[in-house]
Subunit: 363 residues, 2 copies
């Protein structure tokens, strides 16, 4: 098998040792004589897997005791409804504030507007979201139930470097494209959520890390399976959980621990990102970074070719070098290299070398 | 590997050739140099897989042209909220009728009550749901938006043999434990749904087969990812779909086609069920069927031992014969043998032989 470097934004590369282990035991998990996807979610073996996954995630994230871990149906976007349904009732005004740094924050705000007041308090849309907007959170109305941010913007290639201190108002962060890729002080947050399909596993499920005191306030109209209380009271198994996603996430977390955990992974990720950003910055204008330098993502690197007529040639030749799915999202154009935890350094180096060579030949 | 016969209610056995194929190509799907779970849901290869899955399902089910197929997040139970949110507005009274034949219909009715009037028009609860309640659908109020039934009751081992003609009022059926196991005339239904994890694949996703004219009526408060219109307009990919579930379902449908399709599978299933029901009925009272004979399920066979003190011995010895997860649900007690499409005839025969031998030795 000729394994390629997949720079797609997600579903994305998973660590090869994880895939190899899953393949090896696919027909016979734990010697049970069946596949992990055939095992009952109510079996002792699966419940042990789920608990071990909790413990691993808590340990690796450094998650405080006063947080619960919930595994919820429907990828991250389902949370755009679940969050207002659960958290807007924290204050009588049912108001949520959005600091809009990209497409997903906008979508989240529009969904929240079904359930209460969804207010844009800052936005970088006027500059096509090429930076994180500046905003003084001390000016937030006291009757705000929560503040919603997207910590890393997959489409635009930006990230929050420092997170704001919102005081008594819970800070909610969509970390779909960077959970477990950088060290986070969860004490700053009320709720952090992420779809698995970038850094943690396959698609279809999301992890919600939530301060326990924020559970139990849902609106009466909340679907039972969008109510955090339902998940918290039933160890995320009010109904049949996505067993395969839990299993794969467990393997990915073990792999992450083997790499030295999140602090070590954060350093590797910074090194990987620098390799590609250097290729952009040292190209004397052949490539241009799409995001402002101060807000550059370590996960999604967006860049354009000064001569966009070369885009197709760039993509075709890149594939010839085993470098796949580099085409940028249409709203930014150009290229995007998504380099989640599982992307090896070698993938970034191969891309940087190809970029330099391509620029030399076409500059 | 010593593969066991898994009689669990779900997640459940999958066909061995399906698991073997998934294992074989787990690291390299379609020669792409990546796992199917790493491939973008927006890639041409995945979109082709999804379309082929639609076509296979439509062909094998004999689904009429005026039905859409939606793949939705959250297993079947998420539909307990989605259905009233989408269908109650069909009539101004926002009223749904429930013919309660078991646990899941009751749960569905309770969830629907969040969004309008949820009325029990018949119930067999008084006899612990050991049959399908009789009900004359011609007496339904004309202002009823839809009628909800559970076609096969996993816990209690009963099924609807004939489906009622509800005329202009859409009939909604939870077929989680029997979709694609029997021939269905979909023209009788407005909406049929099923979680995959019994007859169709892994857990985490559900298939919704819905008459097209029933789409587009959702309440404004409907979460975007519970709105059927969102799925219908985006080929079930408004966000990242559960790619692994689609892939596995595709393999299962190919296998089903290789077995001769649904009519052939229905005959095999009837044969399998008869083997075990005969073992019960020929035991001269050692075993007792829990469901009334006229309503016996072909998927979930519930029975008790006349002497319940032998239950543990029965279960322990069964495991020694490779017969797993036979313990019944606590609300019925005794045993339950779930024999979905993927359970081989040999599994049923091994169980029947064991039952006869156990009765002989302990009778």
């Amino acid at each position: 098998m000729n394994r390629i470097f997949n720079f797609g934004a997600g579903p994305a590369m998973l660590p090869l040792p994880v895939l190899e282990k899953a393949k090896e035991e696919f027909l016979d998990w734990k010697g049970l004589g069946m596949s992990v996807i055939e095992v009952s979610h109510r079996s002792a073996e699966f419940e042990a897997l789920l608990t071990e996954t909790d413990n691993l995630l808590r340990e690796l994230a450094g998650l405080p005791e006063n947080f619960d871990i919930l595994y919820v149906h429907g990828s991250a976007q389902m949370q755009f409804a679940a969050i207002p349904l659960n958290l807007m009732p924290l204050k009588p005004a049912h108001k949520a504030a959005f600091i809009e740094s990209g497409h997903w924050t906008v979508l989240a705000r529009k969904e929240a507007a079904r359930y209460g007041k969804a207010v844009t308090v800052a936005s970088s849309e006027a500059s096509n979201f090429n930076h994180i907007p500046d905003y003084d959170v001390s000016t937030l109305d006291a009757d705000t139930s929560y503040v919603h941010i997207t910590s890393n913007n997959t489409l635009f290639g930006t990230r929050w470097n420092e997170f704001p201190d919102t005081g008594d108002i819970p800070l909610v962060a969509d970390m779909t494209s960077e959970l477990m890729s950088r060290v986070i002080d969860y004490n700053k947050f009320g709720l952090v959520f992420a779809g698995l399909q970038k850094n943690l596993g396959p698609s279809g499920m999301a992890a919600v890390l939530i301060r326990k005191d924020l559970i139990g306030h849902a609106m009466p109209q909340t679907p039972n399976l969008l109510n955090y209380d339902t998940y918290a009271k039933n160890h995320s198994m009010p109904n049949t959980i996505n067993t395969f996603a839990v299993y794969m996430m467990n393997l990915v977390l073990h792999w992450l621990k083997d790499q030295g955990g999140v602090p070590a992974m954060e350093k590797i990720n910074a090194h990987k990102a620098k390799i590609i950003y250097d290729a952009i910055d040292n190209s004397t204008g052949f490539y241009r970074g799409a995001a402002q330098k101060d807000f550059r993502s370590q996960m999604n690197i967006t860049f354009t070719l000064a001569n966009s007529e070369l885009d197709k040639k760039f993509l075709d030749e890149a594939q010839g070098h085993g470098l796949y799915a580099l085409k940028g999202h249409r709203v930014v154009g150009g290229m995007r290299a998504s380099i989640y935890n599982a992307m090896p350094v070698a993938g970034c180096q191969t891309l940087a070398d190809f970029m330099a060579d391509f620029a030399r030949r076409n500059g």
